[in-house]
Subunit: 227 residues, 4 copies
Amino acid sequence: MKTLINNNVKNIIRDTLKLDEALNSQEKQFKINTDFLSNENIENHKQLYKGYIDNFNKSNLKLDSVEKSQSNSNHSEFRSLKLDETYNLNGVYLHELHFANIGDPNSQIKMDSLSYMRLARDFGSFDNWQKDFLACCNAAQCGWAITYLNTYTQTYMNAMVDLHSNNVPFGSYPVIVMDVWQHAYYRDYLKDVNTYSRAMMKQLRWSVIEERVMKADKILQVIRGQV
Amino acid sequence: MKTLINNNVKNIIRDTLKLDEALNSQEKQFKINTDFLSNENIENHKQLYKGYIDNFNKSNLKLDSVEKSQSNSNHSEFRSLKLDETYNLNGVYLHELHFANIGDPNSQIKMDSLSYMRLARDFGSFDNWQKDFLACCNAAQCGWAITYLNTYTQTYMNAMVDLHSNNVPFGSYPVIVMDVWQHAYYRDYLKDVNTYSRAMMKQLRWSVIEERVMKADKILQVIRGQV
Amino acid sequence: MKTLINNNVKNIIRDTLKLDEALNSQEKQFKINTDFLSNENIENHKQLYKGYIDNFNKSNLKLDSVEKSQSNSNHSEFRSLKLDETYNLNGVYLHELHFANIGDPNSQIKMDSLSYMRLARDFGSFDNWQKDFLACCNAAQCGWAITYLNTYTQTYMNAMVDLHSNNVPFGSYPVIVMDVWQHAYYRDYLKDVNTYSRAMMKQLRWSVIEERVMKADKILQVIRGQV
Amino acid sequence: MKTLINNNVKNIIRDTLKLDEALNSQEKQFKINTDFLSNENIENHKQLYKGYIDNFNKSNLKLDSVEKSQSNSNHSEFRSLKLDETYNLNGVYLHELHFANIGDPNSQIKMDSLSYMRLARDFGSFDNWQKDFLACCNAAQCGWAITYLNTYTQTYMNAMVDLHSNNVPFGSYPVIVMDVWQHAYYRDYLKDVNTYSRAMMKQLRWSVIEERVMKADKILQVIRGQV
């Protein structure tokens, strides 16, 4: 690999380099307080989430020692592990964001909140955002509806994700996340994803979302070179 | 939709809300100076990129007026347009990042650069990053190899993307982008994606990458609440 | 289009050509007699199946009049409709095959049946087929486990399909079909796809499967030029 | 696994069961005689095809010994191997069908051929089939356009496949196959898939296609219980 890049590498600070420990995702705890989901649904969902953590940690760990020079697009351990790594990583991340932003029986959004203003600005009105987000919930094929900052358009957009990692925008910071896999609602709603989604949207935990949007807005300032 | 969320919306600042103009992506110009790609390859590639811009603008515009209440996961105009919007948006964004970070005949990475240090830290060594990135180039099925900041793991990771939007991590800020669709190399390399990728990696425009990594590191500070 | 193919078309029998009526899929009735699924699960599942019929008919009909010369891979109505046509067509076909081959409380397979002999032959033993099929049930990401005749290998193989149309072999005649979308089992089994699949496998309607295998074997004779 | 299905298995003919040898795909030779593709394109394409054979054989062989009881949908060797098996199997099969049905400089279709009559019948006219097939060529995202007998609709339909195994109908017997991966045309046509496809369609080897359609028609008779 010596010849991979040219040799104009200047030797200056080697000692600042420390290898981080292997990535290791840890299970988090969530309180979901809602009459719109049964306890067994919630409990089952948390166990599912644990599975993604385990499998992300496993696939990520195996990638450390896989033979990378044998990688190819048709059949290689590297490719298989990368598929699983991304799939499970998204599974972990999106579930954590979902659990943290649903189930608030006192859900309330203020019109002077950054969340409200940004959604209203980028979707025309807050109501437009709601309709568009609900449309994403109804359109995903076992997947996710996600409001996120797109680092290319520099606006908040809605994504409709299939499974965990298909139809996903690159360059994204998620702020509102709704699980619309069938596992999220079938126990309680059977095929009625629309009613489930509306119920969840009524109880969005806007205090958590607000913190995310505040970070997203700072990220936007960074991208624009304003910070 | 009145009942979608509860009514505890406080009326405070309405006048700050202004609807942004429709998203409209504009073609950018890139200078790619390399002996490793033929002119006709480069010229063809730029025309392909234009196509993504046109189609992102078209699909995004149509989404403004599509009937969202008819959205469903089996067959709906909303779903079709969202698929195309994300596909073309990634097509635009990733091509711009790719064109901007290749084709530097004086490519040089300094060991005291943030890019070098971050890659060395998160991949164990700079050489490990190179091997892993090349493995991603070889593993993608008509897609992309991308080094990016993952906003969940808070580390720099490599992604192996199929087509434009499959196997994509959510929560990402891309810093090094390599097009490994067959359209990127077949004219000049036929099926030898490995030689093509190594050639491109020798001429990475590290000055551009450094700016991206500096932003990525600030984004990380935002996420960690340090800014 | 005159020039698309060469003009050596001989005019002989024009009058034998009659345009078939538009494809129009009709809902079929199924009796599923099992203690392993709740009635509401079964009823909900049948309604879901109806949705695929409607959407296959709709997308197929629209394809008749869509502007085909505008077709392209980035954003075109033709492409969107073809995606939906195949997705819903598989949704219809596979559900019909699934409903027809489950729910037999008197399930019984005879060792002198063609089904038994073919599965035993092509999987090493009948037990191997069972283990492999169950592994497919557990491995699909919202999808299907399917035993089918592969027209290339000319053997019976198991397929693990994601959603309705991903990871699907070309050249196939399905003989045993199991729905392992989460919608098939979550109401009754939550995330325990393994127990659900084993329960369904205990009640396979082998009389129906036998008829399919008899046809599959004849198809194989046709392919081999023996008929 | 004893309990997986009920025990009503009757012991009759055990000795008729013989385990077939492991599937092992062998490279075939093809003569492609055309001015529309460069020799280096054709040669490169044949080498690509060889790769699919090797990788199908490898993944299929590994599946014999993989631990099937560990199979799951998030991260398991069984799932990874099944993905690769189907991908490479389609890669082998479709390439063989493609090579065998292109490159006939004396291409000629007779109006009294079964191919002509069936395409005219099921697409309204032969010209309609041509336009629809070309639309599929233009619409696939690195994939295939395929005319095939659909065993559910019992008609000839066109499929637009992405990569090798996405958006694929279940229950299919392919009769006309066109490779529209970028690897098939970029060397000679750059991004002009339309001109490439029209060129290939002018030289379809209808004698080979006719044999396939004759088999497909017999398969249809089998499905309809007429044989």
